[in-house]
């Protein structure tokens, strides 16, 4: 997982010590949880399973309502399933599926992966966007997108069509783009997350 260090130093930049850990008791004691990630969905789930982290994530995020931030693959993993290289079940926190961009029927060429800076259109209010103007650009790198089947979408982004670029459901916040690589607007999201009141 190449971008762990990037995420950690972005948190440092906004004045927060983030611990990189796969240790259950560290996760249990953390005030907030971040799941970044690059790579494939199946590998991501496999790692979480092998490290025995699925139960503790469910316990802390779903039962204990600890603030959770998913980034990129970390957003996709909270869906019910992904169709990346076959079907893989996700953490099932949000009624959603992860499917590949398909532009075969379009005249105009859209490249995959969707990589680069693209802007949001705000939907449902998401407090992590506080202080950031709508239509701001964030950095994306992905070939699959999140199809939400419940009303949790806080922004969409236009790439041939409007796909879901962020969701929020209770204490769960997730972004398809990389806040840690999106300069000042991205750091603002992380700062807002750090400043969230934790229930415990």
């Amino acid at each position: 997982m190449g971008n762990l260090r990037s995420v950690q130093k972005a948190f440092e930049k906004v004045g927060c010590d983030a611990i990189i850990s796969n240790n259950i008791s560290v996760i249990k004691n953390a005030s907030k949880i971040v799941l970044p990630g690059v790579g494939s969905f199946a590998d991501g789930m496999k790692h979480l399973e092998e490290l025995g982290l699925i139960d503790i994530l469910n316990e802390e995020v779903i039962n204990n309502k600890k603030p959770f931030l998913g980034v990129c693959l970390g957003m996709q993993l909270i869906s019910k399933k992904s169709y990346e290289n076959g079907e893989t079940e996700g953490l099932c926190w949000i009624d959603a599926e992860v499917v590949k961009f398909n532009f075969d029927n379009l005249d105009k060429k859209f490249k995959i992966p969707h990589v680069g800076w693209n802007n949001t259109h705000y939907k449902n209010h998401n407090i992590l966007f506080n202080g950031i103007s709508d239509e701001s650009d964030f950095y994306f790198v992905h070939s699959y997108y999140f199809k939400a089947y419940e009303d949790v979408v806080s922004s969409t982004t236009d790439y041939a069509f409007d796909f879901v670029s962020s969701v929020q459901k209770d204490n769960i916040f997730a972004f398809q783009f990389h806040p840690e690589k999106s300069q000042s607007v991205g750091l603002k999201i992380l700062e807002n997350f750090v400043n969230l009141e934790s229930d415990r």
Binding site: V38, Y139, K181
Partner: protein
């Protein structure tokens, strides 16, 4: 709307950032971390750093310096130079890079692209192609082997097939010239690839960027203009914007 990216592309040599002219002579840009900090402050879209001590002289990849540079970058960082093993990619990513660029290794070993792309994802693998025009024909140029009898577009399509996520296309003839990008070259590539093309080499003024993007470049890379001219990345973006080209301001 996806924006066209403006990307400084600089070389790492003797612990300094440098800019090459036709891959030959070098001019010093500055200290890597302070330069990275300036790029970050100037809100550039991305940064590409190629470690030429590692690629040309076979020295160990300078992960210490890459870490220092990455620590200043809150934008995407691509690192290239001397990457020949999967372990090298792990090292560079762990040092804080988001993507890696490969050139010689990709030329020698297509399977390496496939393997690295399957482990790290295509989005992480930038394949770099250097091009030289010989007798009115574009040929792939290798720093170690010289001009090769390979068509750069054919090679790019091969790289794409094997899992490259982006192509960094550099015109050796235009590189460092400030006479503009090789427009004829990018025209050959227009609409041929599914993956983005970053065109590199020759930007001397904002109009060059406009021409490159209008003729098919998804992103443009440059170095000289940002250090040895009055233009900043913002000047270039503003010029693009006023020509109805979408950029991040």
């Amino acid at each position: 709307m996806l924006k066209h990216r403006i990307i400084p592309c600089v070389l790492l040599k003797d612990w300094q950032l440098v800019k090459s002219i036709h891959f030959d002579s070098f001019r010093t840009i500055g200290h890597p971390t302070s330069t990275a900090r300036i790029y970050n402050a100037r809100n550039v879209d991305e940064l590409i750093v190629l470690d030429i001590d590692a690629s040309l002289n076979g020295e160990e990849i300078n992960t210490e310096l890459i870490t220092d540079i990455a620590d200043e970058c809150f934008m995407p960082l691509t690192i290239g130079g001397g990457i020949t093993t999967i372990d090298d990619i792990y090292k560079v990513l762990n040092a804080g890079a988001d993507k890696i660029a490969i050139n010689s290794k990709a030329l020698d070993d297509l399977e390496f692209i496939k393997k690295s792309s399957s482990i790290f994802g295509a989005q992480c693998i930038v394949c770099s192609i250097d091009v030289k025009k010989i007798d009115d024909e574009y040929k792939v140029f290798s720093k170690s082997k010289g001009v090769l009898d390979i068509n750069p577009l054919v090679l790019a399509l091969k790289y794409e097939e094997y899992g490259a996520g982006e192509i960094l296309l550099t015109s050796v003839d235009c590189e460092g010239s400030t006479n503009g990008y090789d427009i004829e070259l990018i025209k050959l590539f227009k609409d041929k690839l599914e993956i983005p093309i970053i065109l590199n080499g020759g930007m001397g003024k904002p109009e060059d960027a406009i021409e490159a993007i209008q003729n098919g470049a998804d992103a443009i890379a440059a170095a000289y203009i940002f250090h040895f001219s009055q233009y900043t990345p913002s000047d270039i973006k503003n010029a693009l914007k006023s020509n109805q080209i979408d950029v991040r301001l």
